[in-house]
């Protein structure tokens, strides 16, 4: 225990006295949250939509105004050419064109059915899908305002109710996931270099002449980073709250507990890499490769695991972020409790035990 404590203290000195690792600890998580939080934004706004108004009544102008009033649609910079609506698509100046044929105003007053033309540039299918959805909503609002009070919209309608993230803001979905990714990357990066650095500088040779056990070295090196990574986690969460307004419904303490397990697992990845390679550079490369890509693509951070081919679904089971993503989204957005999440913690502990076990077995007290 005493040895582990002293190795931990020594590691803390290394971190605190090295500007570069301090920067990784303090600046990187915040910078990454900002970057990802803003870059990965699936909310589509300000879609440029042209309106060709052949009706030219107060109703048709009100309809166009209704579209532009929302933040979802904006006007193109130039006037539309009624003879060639598609020209704006080819020139890339707009993503949709609404054509209001003449007779719209009259049909609205008489309550007759009428069809509006909406042409959408389908080359970006995300935007195209959004236009369809938003346009339908905008039209509904428009009609509701104009119907006499108490009148029903014709036909059967669905009244959807979205739970946990009623505005369907993608930041609520992404930012908790981001915490998982940032924690994983920082943890793995920080620890992956620790043993490799000692191999490079020759200090490991000196350390191995002392009667120190591999597991003491490994645990002593992991311990300081557990606290540092947790600190980073809190930092990122505070930013998530302040900058992106992500709600936090569940128990803070519960998330902290899971965070501890998750961070320790992430650190074991770094330690395992570090005990296998010889140089810091290779260690960092592996740390990035083994944490960044799989965690972003396969953990459910962006793409739902359930929709993946079954091989990739199995692969996602050995990615720690998969478990923590479920936990952090559950706790923050849904207020999930320990009972519902404990199984994820168990999986994380198993992964951690395997990695530390392999690292300790591979870590030699003799030089090659």
């Amino acid at each position: 225990m005493r040895r582990i404590r002293h190795i931990t203290r020594k590691e803390l000195y290394h971190i605190l006295r090295d500007a570069r690792s301090l920067a990784i600890v303090l600046v990187m998580p915040v910078a990454m949250t900002f970057l990802y939080g803003y870059a990965i934004n699936l909310d589509i706004e300000n879609i440029v939509m042209g309106v060709i108004d052949l009706d030219q009544t107060q109703h048709s102008r009100a309809l166009a105004g209704c579209f532009y009033h929302s933040t979802y649609f904006s006007k193109p910079q130039e006037e539309m050419d009624p003879t060639d609506p598609e020209r704006v698509f080819r020139e890339g100046r707009a993503s949709a064109v609404l054509v209001i044929r003449s007779g719209f105003g009259r049909a609205l007053e008489r309550g007759n059915s009428f069809s509006l033309g909406l042409t959408i540039d389908g080359s970006d299918n995300n935007i195209a899908g959004a236009v369809r959805g938003y346009a339908g909503q905008a039209l509904n609002y428009f009609l509701r305002d104009r119907l006499p009070p108490g009148a029903k919209l014709p036909g059967v309608i669905i009244a959807p109710q979205v739970l946990y993230n009623p505005d369907l803001q993608s930041s609520h979905f992404f930012v908790p996931g981001l915490v998982a990714i940032v924690l994983l990357m920082i943890s793995a990066l920080l620890t992956s270099v620790t043993i490799a650095r000692e191999k490079e500088t020759g200090t490991l040779e000196q350390l191995l002449t002392a009667p120190v056990k591999p597991v003491e070295i490994l645990l002593g090196k992991i311990l300081p980073y557990v606290f540092i990574a947790l600190f980073d986690g809190v930092l990122v969460l505070v930013f998530a709250k302040l900058v992106f307004g992500v709600p936090f419904v569940g128990s803070h303490l519960l998330l902290l507990g899971f965070g501890l397990v998750y961070v320790a697992t992430a650190l074991s990845i770094g330690i395992l890499i570090s005990s296998l390679v010889r140089t810091q550079q290779v260690a960092m490369m592996y740390a990035m490769m083994f944490t960044m890509l799989p965690s972003v693509m396969l953990s459910g951070f962006i793409f739902a695991v359930k929709n993946m081919p079954s091989l990739l679904q199995y692969l996602s089971l050995i990615i720690p972020a998969t478990y923590f993503l479920t936990v952090i989204r559950g706790v923050m957005l849904k207020g999930a409790g320990l009972g519902e999440l404990v199984i994820h913690g168990v999986f994380l502990l198993v992964l951690m035990a395997i990695m530390i076990g392999v690292a300790a077995a591979k870590f030699k007290t003799r030089l090659a």
């Binding site: 000195y13 000196q206 009667p211």
Partner: protein, 247 residues
């Protein structure tokens, strides 16, 4: 405690097809200063690493301070100190922090460590730089600090791998005075060097060439045997003749 500090027979180490150490045999008595001479690449560092439990031999047998080098490496480590030719303390830690860290690594109590630091600091005149980051110190001071760290657990035997490389003569002289005093206190010293004046300070020397021990004995006896005026001449003629024969 045995009277023989090191007993080695036919110790070998191969790296792939290359034989770094080729069936060396030697004994070192307790309290002796044993000089391990050889040109660069002769296999001195490999040999010393095997004796310290840092490297597995590929063949042969050996005992250091009464423990088997294959099976009792942990016991050996507790009783020996090691100083490598490369400065291998933590450069961002001060001398005192390095010593405290190693004190804990050897499982010593805090009070014991502090006492040791005080007495080592006095004997090796470290006090003026012990609280500075060790990486920023001049080479001579670093070596003294490294020696102090290797002595923190009061080992009965000390392995020094070219401890005075790159150090000026005044520092070297002082360094050797410390080694002498340690030997008088009963610490066995196993030192590699290629400074021949340092070799003359040793009780016994062995000369290594291409992984093999080619000559051994007390310096005065060797000079007499080879009719050489000094060890430098002896070394050059011994190694030189072999280089020619080998070429």
């Amino acid at each position: 405690m045995t009277e023989t500090a090191v007993r080695v027979r036919d110790l070998s180490r191969q790296f792939g097809a290359f034989t770094a150490v080729d069936r060396i045999s030697l004994t070192v008595a307790r309290g002796e200063i044993f000089g391990f001479l050889g040109a660069n690449g002769a296999g001195k560092t490999t040999a010393i690493r095997m004796l310290c439990g840092l490297l597995m031999p590929t063949a042969g047998e050996g005992e250091v301070v009464g423990y088997d080098i294959y099976r009792q490496a942990e016991d050996i480590k507790k009783s020996i100190g090691y100083m490598s030719q490369k400065f291998s303390l933590y450069p961002d830690l001060t001398g005192r922090e390095n010593m405290r860290f190693y004190g804990a690594a050897y499982g010593l109590k805090r009070t014991v460590v502090n006492d040791c630091i005080r007495s080592l600091s006095e004997h090796l005149s470290l006090s003026e730089f012990i609280d500075r980051p060790s990486g920023a110190l001049p080479v001579g001071w670093r070596q003294r600090l490294a020696l102090a760290v290797s002595l923190i657990h009061q080992p009965q035997m000390l392995f020094l791998d070219e401890p005075t490389g790159g150090v000026d003569p005044v520092f070297r002289r002082r360094f050797w005075q410390v080694l002498y005093r340690l030997a008088e206190e009963g610490v066995t010293i196993f030192v590699t060097t290629h400074y021949m004046d340092e070799a003359e300070y040793c009780d016994r020397i062995s000369i290594m060439h291409q992984g093999r021990i080619v000559e051994r004995g007390r310096p005065p006896d060797l000079l007499k045997k080879h009719k050489a005026p000094n060890l430098e001449e002896l070394f050059v003629s011994l190694i030189g003749s072999r280089e020619v024969a080998g070429a």
